[in-house]
């Protein structure tokens, strides 16, 4: 069994989740509470990765991250290394791929908070920042947890994008979904089946967790 691929998958999912939580929270806050010109454009942009085939995302990522692309080029002149086919590269890909799944439940949770609670916080002297940390976040824990679980699962399942920008390098970019693909290709059905099977309980547990969080937030 390809433990290395499972390890890379879980590491990728974990790193993606942690980073996305930090990135998505302010975006979700902006979308939930502010009106500004171009808001619906920003919103559509955030959700775009959900609506594009992973290969389209992969295609554009290759273009910008390849040594000739502007990000890849900048990265290479800074570090001397390539961005594509590295763990960092697939982390970036995975983050972009999963953004909508982080922003959407957080935005929903933030929107559900009673406006009057925020007003009370302002009257009590809290700045917007303090209100965000002391009122909005503690009252959105369900939504934030749901976002984290969704992103984690979605990153575990990422395939198309990673196939294009990852290059299946063992221990670095070869995640379990790609290992399964390769195992099936090489007709190593047993290995494919083992990895595939190992996903079912993990995913299942997380899904039960999501449902639980949703029910809790409803009451």
């Amino acid at each position: 069994m390809d433990y290395l691929a499972l390890y890379v998958t879980l590491k990728l999912a974990l790193v993606t989740t942690v980073i996305l939580m930090v990135i998505a929270a302010p975006i979700a806050y902006l979308l939930a509470y502010y009106r500004f010109p171009g808001k619906s454009l920003l919103e559509a942009l955030v959700y775009l990765p959900m609506a594009l085939p992973p290969t389209v995302i992969g295609f554009y990522l290759i273009i910008v991250m390849s040594p000739k692309g502007f990000i890849g080029h900048a990265w290479e002149s800074l570090t001397g290394g390539s961005l594509l086919f590295t763990f960092l590269g697939i982390t970036i890909a995975s983050i972009i791929y999963s953004i909508p799944f982080a922003v959407s439940p957080m935005k929903a949770a933030f929107s559900k908070i009673d406006r009057r609670l925020l007003e009370n916080a302002y009257v009590l002297g809290l700045s917007k920042r303090a209100t965000f940390l002391r009122v909005i976040i503690p009252n959105s824990l369900n939504g934030i947890a749901a976002a984290a679980v969704l992103v984690f699962l979605h990153s575990i399942g990422a395939f198309g994008v990673l196939l294009m920008v990852g290059g299946s390098i063992p221990g670095e970019t070869k995640v379990a979904s790609i290992a399964i693909y390769e195992a099936v290709e090489t007709m190593n059905y047993q290995a494919a089946g083992m990895i595939a099977l190992s996903f079912i309980p993990i995913s299942y547990a997380f899904l039960l967790l999501i449902n639980k969080l949703n029910e809790d937030s409803r009451t």
């Binding site: 390849s66 890849g72 290059g167 090489t186």
Partner: protein
């Protein structure tokens, strides 16, 4: 621990696994392999994928890499043949593979993507030479590489699939039958070592091992000559 990473064309998977295992045993150098179609691997290398050694299924792409300065030189490591494989033994009762394919029972035939996989290109050329390409076009299922083509054939997802000779030495082959496609050009497979290999000594060591008698024996077992 020393290690090298090798990009391997999909037709060579089975042979490679055995060779790599022996190499690891003998030298203690770990071999990490990535399998895909030749075109796909070439594309990755062009975009900066950090492979130390590239085992292609054709002559053209290693040559291009040499021209582009990725490698110092290329060498032939195997010659392969295209076969037409079926899980159904009745398929091989016809006199020729052309007749077998003309049978109306045949609904689907797998072929590796002719653009990215040299074995696919060769199979397509054979079909064309036999004048069958037009009539069979609607029955062709495009696999991403030669390995997927064989996989479709072994699961009976297709009635027959163009594969490489190496497929017949795998456990999955048991119970099937095949025609050798003589009309398909022999495929000359070239390899090359990256200039930027992280561990040039080990990479060269592997290249040498690949051409050793020991390795040749394994290649022969898998139908390469």
């Amino acid at each position: 621990q020393d290690k090298i990473s090798v990009a391997v064309a999909a037709n060579f998977i089975s042979a490679f696994k055995e060779i790599a295992a022996d190499f690891e045993d003998k030298t203690g150098v770990k071999v990490e392999a990535t399998f895909a179609s030749t075109g796909s691997l070439y594309n990755q290398i062009k975009n900066g994928a950090p492979y130390d050694v590239f085992l292609s299924a054709d002559e053209e792409r290693p040559a291009l890499l040499e021209k582009e300065g990725w490698t110092h030189g290329t060498f032939i490591y195997a010659r392969g043949k295209v076969i037409l494989w079926s899980a159904n033994k009745a398929f091989c009762k016809s006199a020729t593979w052309q007749d077998a394919l003309k049978n109306n029972q045949i609904k689907k035939i797998a072929i590796a993507n002719p653009v990215t996989a040299p074995y696919g290109t060769a199979a397509k050329a054979a079909l064309q030479k036999a004048g069958l390409l037009g009539t069979l076009q609607s029955k062709l299922v495009n696999a991403q590489d030669i390995a997927q083509s064989f996989q479709y054939a072994t699961t009976s997802a297709v009635d027959a699939g163009f594969c490489s000779m190496s497929a017949i030495s795998t456990p999955q082959e048991q119970g099937g039958c095949y025609y050798v496609i003589a009309e398909a050009p022999v495929i000359t497979q070239f390899a090359c070592v990256s200039k930027k290999a992280k561990n040039p000594v080990c990479a060269e060591l592997f290249a040498t091992f690949l051409m050793s008698d020991h390795a040749n024996k394994i290649k022969k077992k898998y139908g390469y000559h």
